[in-house]
């Protein structure tokens, strides 16, 4: 199959690159409507308390202010920001405006005014009297203080327990225990959160959002506001990045409410500080792992206990916990696996969806732990992993599903050679101020939500009168090139260039139901849907061509927009002429609509290698070289797949070394912008080599598997393992900011210049 591919596997820019660089693209914050109003939220300045009173009289008196809303004049109904279809089970604990405020940044009130400046001025005039409650800022505090419930059912939000296999005799084995902390981090999409909604005089509502799933937005808003679905239209608009931070519905419900109440267009645009404090963060986790190993390095027993900090509301964290318990057995063969995960409310920023959905958190803990095991056993970290990694078509004992054509062993073996692992690992770490080390980590992720949901996608494809094509699908471009990916897949099947295919983004009024772009489901599930849809359309084209050419359909081949009779290529008809033949006789039938159900959920894998140099005097770590190997099945858009890895490595290095949203004793985050929220920037980025392992043994289009999330799953652990190799430390509390490295060196008395 592969040698015949004309379009799949080559490199293409994202579909709207020209509009982006020329400034033509209209982002959410660029939207403007006649008479549009501007909203500004009053966010709680305290971490925990009850709103005793809200006096908005001075704000309402300000010229230009239309309305002020708080819990006093808005629905008290609760909703879940993470719900993606009606009736989905989830933790429903959030209201539009809070009487009981649960973190610094909780929504207390909103002003709707004729300008942004007036709305901002008016918010400052609202007087709120709070009765403060004890702020529970860590999961330990929250579990201890049962007398201070953050939500009615207590502070322990959710527990999950997974056990697979049977305990084996571990006597004589090596027991190792470790605890790894992963930080709360900001998604740091360049574009801040924004939503625009138009309340119609008819009572209907249109919402323009930078969401990752418009159908979920529709169900949450419709049920909260009591709207019939056909009167609520949700349109995806171009966005400047998400990384999961826009997966859940944060601004959409409140903006829709404000527009519906005022019957006007309303724009709600957050600034960076609001994005950091009051949207969502990657959850902070702490995982303790205990393993027993045979002397040769085979894992005999694996027990883990995870505590996940949900922040002030549940969002998607219970599901996150479930998924954290489904990562380890995707990666390693374990005779016995036991994992308990608890999710705890605290009075800190809301945690929820973030790239990798639990995998970076869990795999970081696992891979740091395995390096500790390797040190105890005096085994090379690569060798230890090779003894334990899963093999292609293993059955995952937790999900009882096949892991598919899982090529993580090949990733590790080829990567170790390409990185020159053995020689680099043997090289002296140095004894002076600057010390070098190398680290490796493996990672596993999934392909869609099969096994959890009825995983499916819908698409429709039609041929135009001139032989070009239009794909109707609920696509959400979040920066990973999904529109281009779908065009390439359709183009490959139809045998025409991707430029001859139009594909737009999601609009609940015009594109068919789809969950959205998340869960590593786009290429594997929606891409397969695109492939099946295009094949169905191609059959219709060939059937029409058979009529035109008066030849059996089995003898026809389509190439570059022309159908030929095999062996008699002078007999041919172009796609566009099929449309015209006999007064448009055939064109009305040349369309296809498909509902595609996923039937598998194989593993996607990545193995990554990092080299670091640590300055023992300042504690600053430089990542000096990096290799990312990916088992992606088949690269559809090769340049984009490599870029996914490169971007993920940037994010993963930040996760390992820099990024964290800590809160002070009052529950207030110490960071409020990119001035003090440090990400890795260009001068500190290493060269990143990307090596793709392509086997196409699964059900994705042309064998493709997911890449966007798996790409960052092992990154942080590879970096941390390299630092520990350089310093001879066992650091496992992320991020490894200079202060922590210096403290560790001082404690081991081996540091200093």
């Amino acid at each position: 199959m592969t040698e015949d591919l004309r379009y799949v596997g080559k490199s293409y820019p994202v579909h709207d690159v020209a509009q982006k660089v020329t400034g033509e693209l209209v982002y959410g914050s660029d939207l403007n409507f006649p008479g549009m109003l501007h909203a500004k939220l009053l966010l709680s300045p305290i971490a925990h308390g009850m709103v005793r009173s809200v006096d908005s009289s001075r704000a309402e008196a300000l010229p230009g202010v239309i309305r002020v809303f708080s819990h006093l004049n808005s629905p008290a109904d609760t909703y879940c920001r993470a719900r993606i279809y009606p009736g989905q089970e989830c933790a429903i604990d959030e209201t539009l405006f809070s009487e009981h405020v649960r973190f610094v940044g909780d929504r207390v009130a909103a002003v709707v005014a004729t300008s942004q400046a007036i709305a901002e001025a008016a918010v400052a005039l609202i007087e709120v009297d709070y009765e403060e409650l004890p702020a529970l800022l860590t999961t330990e505090q929250a579990l201890e203080r049962a007398d201070v419930p953050i939500h009615a059912d207590g502070n322990l939000l959710y527990e999950h327990h997974i056990e697979s296999g049977e305990r084996v005799d571990t006597s004589g084995g090596v027991l190792v225990s470790s605890t790894t902390g992963t930080p709360r981090v900001h998604h740091a999409a360049l574009e801040p959160h924004v939503c625009v909604a138009q309340g119609h005089s008819t009572g209907g509502l249109t919402v323009w959002t930078t969401s990752q799933g418009v159908y979920g937005v529709r169900t949450v808003i419709a049920e909260l506001l009591g709207l019939e679905y056909h009167r609520l239209r949700v349109i995806k608009v171009p966005m400047g990045g998400s990384f999961g931070g826009k997966t859940e519905f944060i601004l959409e419900p409140v903006t829709a409410f404000l527009a519906h109440e005022t019957r006007r267009a309303v724009k709600l645009l957050f600034d960076r500080e609001e994005c950091i404090r009051a949207t969502m963060v990657r959850p902070a986790t702490e995982t303790t792992i205990r393993t027993a190993c045979a002397a040769d390095g085979r894992l005999l027993d694996f027990e883990a206990a995870t505590t996940l900090d949900s922040g002030g509301y549940a969002a998607s964290t219970p599901d996150y916990a479930d998924h954290m318990c489904e990562k380890v057995t995707r990666l390693y063969r374990l005779p016995h696996y036991d994992h308990r995960c608890q999710v705890v409310y605290t009075n800190t920023p809301v945690a929820g969806a973030a790239r990798g959905w639990g995998a970076p958190e869990m795999i970081t803990a696992v891979e740091i732990h395995l390096d500790k095991v390797a040190r105890r056993l005096r085994l090379d970290p690569v060798d230890l992993r090779l003894k334990n990694l899963i093999q292609p078509f293993d059955i995952d004992p937790v999900t009882d599903m096949s892991l598919g054509d899982a090529r993580v062993v090949e990733c590790l073996e080829r990567g170790a050679v390409a990185f020159d692992w053995t020689a680099r690992r043997a090289r002296a770490r140095g004894k002076g101020r600057y010390r070098r080390g190398v680290g490796v980590a493996c990672g596993a992720h999934k392909n869609g939500m099969f096994g959890h949901f009825p995983e499916a996608s819908n698409m429709a494809l039609k041929m135009n009168e001139d032989g070009t094509f239009e794909l109707s699908a609920s696509l959400h471009e979040v920066g990973c090139g999904v529109v281009t990916t779908m065009k390439i897949i359709v183009a490959e099947v139809l045998g025409v260039h991707p430029d001859l295919i139009a594909a737009g983004e999601a609009d609940t009024s015009t594109t068919p139901f789809d969950y959205g772009t998340f869960g590593s489901r786009m290429t594997y599930v929606a891409g397969a849907c695109a492939e099946v849809t295009a094949k169905k359309l191609k059959s219709a084209i060939l059937a029409a061509a058979a009529d035109v050419l008066q030849a059996p359909v089995e003898e026809l081949v389509a190439r570059e927009g022309v159908v030929y009779v095999a062996g008699a290529e002078a007999r041919s008809v172009a796609f566009r002429d099929i449309a015209r033949f006999g007064d448009m006789k055939h064109l009305p039938a040349i369309r296809a609509a498909v509902t595609y159900y996923a039937t598998s959920n194989p593993g996607s894998y990545s193995v990554q290698f990092a080299e670091v140099e640590v300055d023992c005097a300042t504690g600053l770590t430089a990542v000096t070289d990096f290799l990312a190997v990916g088992d992606v099945g088949r690269a559809i858009n090769r340049g984009m797949v490599k870029a996914q890895f490169q971007g993920a490595v940037q994010m993963g290095i930040g996760y390992a070394l820099y990024e964290h949203v800590d809160v002070d004793e009052a529950g207030r985050s110490g960071v409020d912008g990119f001035k003090n929220y440090h990400m890795v920037n260009a001068p500190d980025m290493p060269d990143i080599d990307v090596l793709l392992v392509e086997h196409e043994g699964d059900h994705g289009p042309f064998g493709a598997k997911s890449v966007g999330e798996i790409a960052m799953v092992p990154t942080a652990a590879a970096v941390v393992n390299a630092v520990n190799n350089a310093l001879g430390t066992e650091l496992s509390d992320l991020p490894l900011i200079p202060d922590r490295i210096i403290a560790a060196l001082a404690a081991s008395a081996g540091g200093g210049a």
């Binding site: 400046a117 400052a124 300055d615 300042t618 540091g751 200093g752």
Partner: protein, 295 residues
């Protein structure tokens, strides 16, 4: 809603006229890399914004007898590339080159850096070590000159009065027997404010082969950049050897302990100060002139 008047004087007379209108709510725009964020904060009211970017007369570096004079509106990009700064104030060149990003250095000015009075201002740390004087102009056209250390009062606080603009910095140009250097520790290599910074100025007598006229500026370890006399005294009269480097490093850690006792960042900074001092010391090697041989 409050409104802001913006004036952009192009001549000294226009600047004086603008300064004469100043109130406590007046701000001077000298690049804007900090100011633009600041004036947009909720509750900030600015009645008059005096944009100094149309004052080419305030952008210069020139030799004046034994002094080097630097116009307040000289950008860090200009300082970084200036041959006089390279030759006579190497620590200022090094500090300028480590401010923010290239985009920030293209607009941020040395005058703005000092007037903003951030404790971690790289330019201020270098100027303190150079014992710079500040010349200001006010709304009556009066010029006043005073030592920089008298202008920097604390974090975000200066002795500048409403309607008083910094127009020039002046300091003794470093000669052939002088060397200077600057080092900084941030959160990352580039585009990071200093967590610790040091500017070092020494005279190295080629005959006696000892250090004299030692000046050490420290940044980000207190309310404002300052010179540490104790630290300076440790090196006075010493040879330029590894032992001096060690004394500077340990003295720097002591200076940090004296400056921020009990601060949560002290355990890190007192140790990192050692690395900072070595970085500054080692950077003296690359300071022009490269003869006589150093260390």
């Amino acid at each position: 809603m409050s409104t802001t008047d913006v004036v952009a004087p192009a001549t000294t007379d226009e600047l004086v006229a603008a300064l004469a209108r100043a109130t406590p709510m007046t701000r001077l725009l000298a690049g804007g890399t900090d100011l633009v964020n600041d004036i947009r904060r909720p509750g900030r009211q600015t009645d008059l914004l005096i944009d100094l970017s149309h004052m080419p007369a305030l952008s210069y570096v020139r030799h004046d007898g034994d002094m080097l004079r630097v116009g307040a509106m000289t950008t860090f990009t200009e300082l970084q590339a200036d041959p006089l700064v390279h030759e006579h104030a190497f620590c200022l060149e090094r500090a300028a080159s480590q401010v923010g990003s290239a985009q920030i250095r293209n607009v941020a000015t040395i005058g703005g850096n000092v007037a903003n009075a951030s404790p971690c201002a790289d330019g201020a740390t270098a100027l303190v070590a150079l014992s710079a004087e500040v010349t200001t102009l006010d709304g009556s056209g009066h010029r006043a000159t005073r030592p920089l250390r008298d202008v920097l009062l604390g974090s975000g606080r200066t002795a500048l009065t409403d309607g008083e603009a910094i127009v020039e910095f002046a300091f003794a140009a470093l000669g052939n027997e002088h060397r200077s250097a600057f080092a900084k520790i941030g959160w990352r290599t580039a585009v990071s404010v200093a967590r610790l910074s040091m500017a070092l100025v020494v005279r190295f007598d080629p005959v006696a082969e000892v250090l004299s006229e030692v000046r050490v500026g420290l940044g980000a370890v207190g309310e404002t950049a300052f010179r540490d006399a104790v630290l300076e005294g440790l090196l006075e009269g010493r040879p330029a050897d590894e032992e001096s480097a060690r004394i500077l490093a340990e003295g720097c850690a002591d200076a940090v302990r004296r400056s921020i006792p009990g601060r949560y960042s002290l355990p890190y900074k007192e140790r990192a100060a050692v690395g900072l001092a070595y970085d500054a010391w080692n950077a003296l090697r690359i300071c022009p002139p490269c003869e006589p041989a150093w260390g």
